[in-house]
Assembly symmetry: C2
Homo-oligomer: 513 residues x 2
Amino acid sequence: MTVDGKRGRRRRPRESGARQPIREVDYHNLRNPFVPTPVFSEDRVESIHDTALRVLEELGMKVLLPAAREHYRRGGALVEDDTAMVRIGRDLVESALASAPRSIALRAGARERDLTLELGALVIQSGAGAPHVTDLRRGRRPASLADYEELTRLTQRFDVLQMLNPLVEPQDIAPPFRHYAVTRAQLTLSDKFPFLFARGTPQVHDGFEMIRAFRGLSEEDFVGAPHCYTIVNTNSPRQLDVPMARGLIDFARAGQLSIVTPFCLMGAMAPVTVAGALTLSHAEALAAITLTQLVNPGAPVCYGAFSSNVDMRSGAPAFGTPEQVKANLGAGQLARKLGLPWRCAAGCAANVNDAQAANETQMSAWGAVLAGATVLIHGAGWIEGGLTVSYEKLITDLEVMQCFAELCAETPAADADIAFEALAEVPPGGHFFAAAHTMERYRSAFYEPLVADWSNFGTWTERGARDANVRASALCEDLLADAEAPAFDEERAAALDAFVARRTAEGGAPPES
Amino acid sequence: MTVDGKRGRRRRPRESGARQPIREVDYHNLRNPFVPTPVFSEDRVESIHDTALRVLEELGMKVLLPAAREHYRRGGALVEDDTAMVRIGRDLVESALASAPRSIALRAGARERDLTLELGALVIQSGAGAPHVTDLRRGRRPASLADYEELTRLTQRFDVLQMLNPLVEPQDIAPPFRHYAVTRAQLTLSDKFPFLFARGTPQVHDGFEMIRAFRGLSEEDFVGAPHCYTIVNTNSPRQLDVPMARGLIDFARAGQLSIVTPFCLMGAMAPVTVAGALTLSHAEALAAITLTQLVNPGAPVCYGAFSSNVDMRSGAPAFGTPEQVKANLGAGQLARKLGLPWRCAAGCAANVNDAQAANETQMSAWGAVLAGATVLIHGAGWIEGGLTVSYEKLITDLEVMQCFAELCAETPAADADIAFEALAEVPPGGHFFAAAHTMERYRSAFYEPLVADWSNFGTWTERGARDANVRASALCEDLLADAEAPAFDEERAAALDAFVARRTAEGGAPPES
């Protein structure tokens, strides 16, 4: 857990001459090129929104944290402390939606990593929150800090993953100390925008303090812009538990970003219909967004939705289904109605990185992209409905995410690209390999695959008939052998370590529930 | 090769009670629900179209068949017989585009299998044209008639595959007789719209005669509507060979459908840019469409495009790339400019049905769907860039195609679907499994997966840890054990067999080249 001085001194290296990529790409500031696809008529979107407001007004949310109920009460909601029910009038919700920012500038560890969340932007994240991890070499196992660190280094390595996230839960670190380890790993292994779990005020404040220490920020600097984020899941249906409500308050008060994501599985904790599940999800998201704005009007907050269906025979969650795609598209309509940046998700229920796994993640990711999601979560590596992150799937999914990023780029169609001269140069039945037009462009014309192997069957067989998983496994090992952390200031790293050492000696901060 | 009388007598069975699906689906008349996505501005689409016309006028096409050159000449094109070059004025192309039908009603073996090809429709086909076949049990091998028959029976089984196609090339049947075997298999194993290869007039006329005999059609009935189709590939760049030109003429004259598909690999037989490859592809398609309309104004013809890129290091074709998606989207813009129904393709260069294979086919299929393709070819089963059809990939890709079909259906959002009452019924933190709203709908609410396994890791492991390929292989065997052919008239089948026996005795019809 001590900072490696040598690593601190080195700059983030450029790739060496031999490995110089011939094609430069920038997957950082992506704008979604697709026309958002609706699944509901405009009047039905109005009906869903209106019904969600009616749910909050007439049925209410159960809010387990007394301090959160007090915020709602002071804002004008009807609160019953004995049942913990909070009925929120539409005026409160509308005033919260008026103060929630439409565009949120995120401050990462380096300016070229900063992001702006707003409708039209496309930010991609890997899979998150898994207790287990798997790879071909080491098998499926409870995730450890070493796994978390490796996956964070891989995240740093891929421009298309623009934010950090809690890929796996390091189960070898006791809960009161785990947040020190994961926050430290994010700060020292990456300069991307970091994530903190909302597991009670002591842990959250520890995280804020670590970021301030490591980034060299005054209290004022820190609250002036979002330097980290958390994800708030409601306990669907219609319940907001203690740590989640606490997180909304703590992050809003400190000007840090909450991404509100009800997880509404159709037929389980939500109605069996896409429209019904989205009505519930929308109501819960509005309730949580309202709390952030009651605490601190203008506090950065993202709308979010994560709805898929269950297998009605077993109750098992399913992902990558047509129903998830439709829910994503419908959630996009609701987000556009609000005008807020929003988070949507891919997903995969397969138990291994096979064709099912690939198809489910890509299908649901298309749903998110066509829905106009600002942040696409679980885009790479997520299997077993989020119980496991697979190293190999991280890589094979990243190929898909990089394809999305490529699709965000303009397709050149100047006269020179339309290429009448080249067409005149090559005779009927000839080929363009040696045409001047080709020679000028071939080095950078095409996306270069990460893990796809386009060799023919004979060559592929001679080379060992390695499938995508075998190749992805080897690529992970190469990347991990190679990857270096960004440079950082040793004094700040020392301050970080001193803070962690002191807090560890004090017994850490047990998570709240 | 004789008709099984028993099979002829049986009706196509409904599934037995025990296997009764609880959810009825109809994937037959699909309308594409997605807003077509452009990659070029309107003025660039005009420029590509205009440059394609200039290519035909100034550079011309090499047309190897003298009879085809004669049609062009009589239409007013400038023809040089010594070089076989044909320069086609834009007036000829424009007049062909004016007579080509915007909507084409296809006549299958049963009315419920008929199709209409027009912009807005979505018709899906499996992979086609592979010399090899592979499955887990029998391995990779040259395709045989038995494989072709099995794959045709599988095609019949899935509503989402709405047309027949030449999945694999039965290499155990000599070329002069192969068309008898494949046409007979299509007619007797399926009632879907059949395909004939354009390999010279004798084979084409044999095919027409077999369809007339088996369907009980007069010559007049037959020419009155398309009862079969062929696919015409140009020899890019700018060349139309003898059998392809002959096919265009023979099919147009008989009122049968040609789908024109230049195969323009960027950087190989086409310019390295998406815009340049599409310009060439568009020019070649216009030349072929023009020939059909010169032969028979109003003859059914589809526009088509199939452009992807090569790996510039090895020259190997790549599929499922961002460039293929962009080419698909651009081709859609050109097709909409013409107003014609059109064919687009998915693709996959992987050598085995792994995550790469799944990702490539799905990525390119989304390109075709978002491009507004009328016919999506190679949607299921295609690997190795079309050199092999995989039984297992046929199944895993069909899951994706069925998801597309599900996305074509409306998403219910009546007040009852928005479900305020259900939301009121279930308390905070409760669940909807037993809600009245759920009970009324759960049997039919969700897509039922074909091959996806949503069980958790423990259950999946206990059941043998079968990946998608193992499950797909077992499903193929079950379906083939189970599948029965549609009913047909024994007299017509006898007439078909008599025709084939006579033609076989006469030596068949060698393909022309």
